[in-house]
């Protein structure tokens, strides 16, 4: 296997190669959660135990369910927001009473019901690379030579003339983030894997902030792979 080969893409069946669906771990997370879950007192107590109120929102329940059924998934805020949209709360009964003395919920039933079994491609495209970009926005530049490293990244990204001309670290950072955002939203690099897209931001951050050459090498490899003009699902990384 060559350095620039995409093993995941080659392993796909012909129909997947033809339709190029976005690969995301969010689909695995979604499938790990049952289609319908009755929220009993014990689940309710655990869900609200971390908050200050007794509100039972879909966000809270889904976040709890992801922890229960997909341990170690460690989803970013944006990703959790996308999973939330695949569920709804179904409530029966007029007046729900939660009793912490008897450990019961009476007067009705609360259910979390899955309304989508797979993630919408458009939704996945919208969060492509976002987690990695957030890391890049909030990182601190502490090592010497970060301006040069930012210029190198911008040259590889292309269409970053304003950032290259500027001397400001903030402008350069903004330019990199904005350019990567355009690349992902317009699918310029044809990355079809959300985790791989997130890694781009992390690699850039790691190289710019810490001068990590392995991260730079991974970024360059990915850039070379984009020249084939084929969908990219995976690449061989250097640790």
């Amino acid at each position: 296997m060559g350095v620039f080969d995409d093993k995941k893409f080659e392993d796909l069946d012909w129909i997947s190669q033809a339709t190029e669906p976005i690969n995301s771990r969010l689909n695995d997370v979604l499938q790990s959660i049952p289609d319908s879950i009755t929220i009993d007192f014990e689940i309710y107590r655990r869900v609200v135990s971390n908050g200050y109120d007794l509100d039972l929102s879909i966000q809270k329940i889904v976040s709890y369910m992801v922890e229960q059924y997909s341990k170690g998934a460690n989803l970013a805020h944006e990703e959790l927001g996308v999973v939330d949209r695949c569920f709804e709360l179904q409530i029966t009964g007029e007046k729900l009473i939660v009793n912490f003395e008897d450990n019961t919920i009476s007067g009705g039933e609360i259910k979390l019901v899955k309304i989508n079994t797979t993630m919408d491609e458009k939704v996945l495209q919208s969060i492509m690379g976002k987690d990695g970009l957030d890391g890049l926005i909030y990182c601190s530049m502490e090592t010497d030579g970060y301006l040069n490293r930012m210029n190198e990244i911008m040259e590889l990204l292309g269409k970053c003339d304003d950032g290259l001309k500027s001397r400001s670290e903030r402008s350069k950072r903004r330019q990199i983030v904005s350019r990567l955002h355009t690349i992902f939203s317009k699918n310029e690099w044809k990355i079809r894997d959300t985790e791989l897209a997130n890694k781009v931001g992390f690699w850039v951050k790691d190289y710019v902030c810490n001068g990590n050459l392995a991260s730079f090498s991974n970024f360059c490899r990915l850039k070379v792979m984009t020249h084939k003009d084929q969908p990219i699902y995976s690449m061989e990384e250097i640790e």
Binding site: R45, V48, S49, N50, G51, Y52, D53, L54, D55, L56, S57, I58, E88, L89, I91, K95, L96, I97, V98, N99, F100, E101, I110
Partner: protein
């Protein structure tokens, strides 16, 4: 503070039973501030300290043990803070000065009045002396000139003693 703390001893807590309501976003809302069986402390009739402590009653829902808890010391401290604030207002409203806030006594109460338990106990005794003879209105505050004059004199003496 001993008197205030003693008044909190009989306080109970609300039962941890709540109603959940469906909001417009299809989510359930519940508030720990509104349990179905809410505990309301009853003050001892005619006891102004008891009324004050009951006003300061505060309970909090502890998610770890799933029940309401009260911190008696906090309630007593809150009541004490109210006594200090009311003493300050009393001086402001009954001072002979044009700008009472510029007065030595007012400034001492606002900034340097001691906060130890012994001093607080004295302040509570003084509060019990002047409070029944005043109202919240300006007219009420001026209703008992003798008590007002005595209180102002006692506070001035306390200030002079502590300044030494």
């Amino acid at each position: 503070m001993t008197k205030l703390l003693a008044l909190t001893q009989d306080f109970g807590v609300s039962r941890p039973i709540f109603a959940l309501y469906l909001n417009d976003h299809g989510e359930l809302e519940g508030s720990t501030r509104n349990p179905i069986y809410k505990y309301e402390p009853t003050p001892i009739e005619g006891d102004i300290l008891s009324e004050l402590v009951c006003e300061c009653y505060y309970e909090d829902f502890d998610h770890r043990c799933s029940e309401f808890v009260i911190i008696r010391r906090d309630i007593a401290s809150k009541a004490m803070a109210k006594i200090r604030a009311q003493t300050k207002d009393f001086v402001e409203k009954n001072s002979d000065m044009k700008s009472p806030r510029q007065g030595k006594l007012y400034r001492w109460i606002a900034r340097s009045m001691p906060t130890n338990d012994e001093f607080n106990d004295t302040l509570i005794m003084l509060y019990l002396y002047w409070k029944p003879h005043t109202g919240t209105s300006m007219a009420g505050l001026r209703s008992s000139q003798k008590h007002i004059e005595n209180t102002m004199a006692i506070l001035t003496a306390m200030m002079e003693k502590h300044e030494q």
